[in-house]
Symmetry: C2
Subunit: 256 residues, 2 copies
């Protein structure tokens, strides 16, 4: 008998995950979303039912993925009218313990990736961070995760929060620095593409060796003349100038 | 008759550039370096002469690349005992005007890339930023640059400085954020590799659309709960905590 999965949530992650499991032969029986249009679109792609009413969620799924915003997870759990056979959430920052008081079989299934609905992702290389309330359930999630990815990790709630924090530095903040770089280039009518090869090489080197060992730039070689010139170039932009100074200081501190 | 090129400098950039031109059929006649061992190693790979004495630099090259540290460029130029036929430097932050008083034919040949001696680079996709004191010389440099790269730009000294500044944000600072992310993961015994797919996807999205349009994360969605939790996780690391706060604030400011 095929395993039956339900999704609570129809956002970016829920959509990609549901489609991936469906394409691997799992049966998706129902999609819940407070936005009925979203639920319908996803459900139709999966030959599943859909609902926007928590009390109408089928009780016969083997596994429920709660994949809603962090703020809504608790509310969803509190308002479930039955005890699911097995329930997991997919969040990087929510502890697994939110399930403890209510349920018997639970865990976390956190794909460490950024998802946009319009952009297809290959799950094969996406790290899946798993946690569960006992070893048997962890084995079960491992079996599932390995159906879609070659990169499966057991990560407890504390570690998961630290990974999430590392992701904020390594991706969200990095992207913001690219926003600033792009802005500097745009003012000169220079396309952002011009620094793409430089970013790619920086990335390759960081993973070939380690980011600490490949740090370069004026801060790293204590080139005060260039640093002061850069700060002068930024004199009408206090925000970017402050970021320049704090990151320059941090690079110099790490170097010591 | 083959064009004759000399290199003043035998560092990372000089090494890669000299080897590239040599492999494209240009004649490298001499390598100068204050470090005679470096000059010798590079010269031997190119069937060239070498010297560590500025007064021994051959006067018959068609083009001289000055590829030394920013601090040394002026000193080298001031101590050249003859007027070279054509001279360029390869620096992102030094103005072309340092050549003006002394020479007749000069320019800038700035490959926008980070070079390490041990790692081969493909010049084909490296943006070459050119400048010259007149159009004829710019044409000449363009002809040369196109022999090694498909990505050739005319960039004046002011633009070049801004590109260099953008590169500091987009690469040096980005790499430093990866240092911090790696440190957070290492403390949990989690390999840095775990966030590689996430960084790759962030990079792909930023160039597919624009970094501003793909900004995500707790700061972007004003998720104060997660932000406060992250700041608490960093409470024993003032440096990282300060960086977290300033970049979070900046993302929120840009959003408005």
């Amino acid at each position: 008998m095929r395993m039956k999965i339900s999704f609570i949530g129809a956002g970016n992650l829920a959509t990609h995950l549901a489609i991936e499991f469906y394409s691997r032969g799992f049966e998706i029986i129902q999609i819940f979303s407070r936005n009925i249009a979203n639920a319908k679109v996803l459900a139709q792609a999966l030959n599943a039912s859909y609902t926007d009413d928590l009390s109408q969620i089928y009780e016969n799924a083997d596994l429920y993925f709660v994949s809603v915003t962090d703020d809504s997870i608790l509310q969803v759990i509190e308002n479930l009218c039955f005890k699911p056979k097995f329930i997991v959430h997919t969040s990087g920052s929510i502890s697994m313990e939110i399930f403890t008081k209510r349920f018997e079989n639970y865990g976390v299934f956190y794909p460490l990736q950024t998802f946009s609905k319009m952009k297809k992702v290959e799950f094969e290389n996406i790290p899946i961070c798993l946690d569960a309330n006992n070893l048997e359930n962890l084995d079960y999630l491992t079996y599932l995760a390995k159906k879609i990815s070659n990169s499966v990790f057991f990560i407890d709630s504390n570690q998961r929060k630290q990974i999430h924090l590392a992701g904020v530095f390594a991706c969200n903040f990095v992207n913001h620095l690219w926003v600033i770089a792009n802005e500097i280039l745009e003012k000169q009518s220079i396309p952002f593409e011009i620094i793409k090869p430089l970013i790619q090489e920086t990335f390759h080197k960081a993973f070939l060796l380690s980011p600490a060992s490949v740090q370069t730039g004026p801060a790293m070689r204590n080139d005060e003349k260039v640093i002061q010139e850069h700060i002068k170039l930024l004199e009408h932009d206090k925000n970017s100038s402050d970021i320049y100074k704090i990151l320059t200081k941090s690079i110099q501190t790490y170097k010591k």
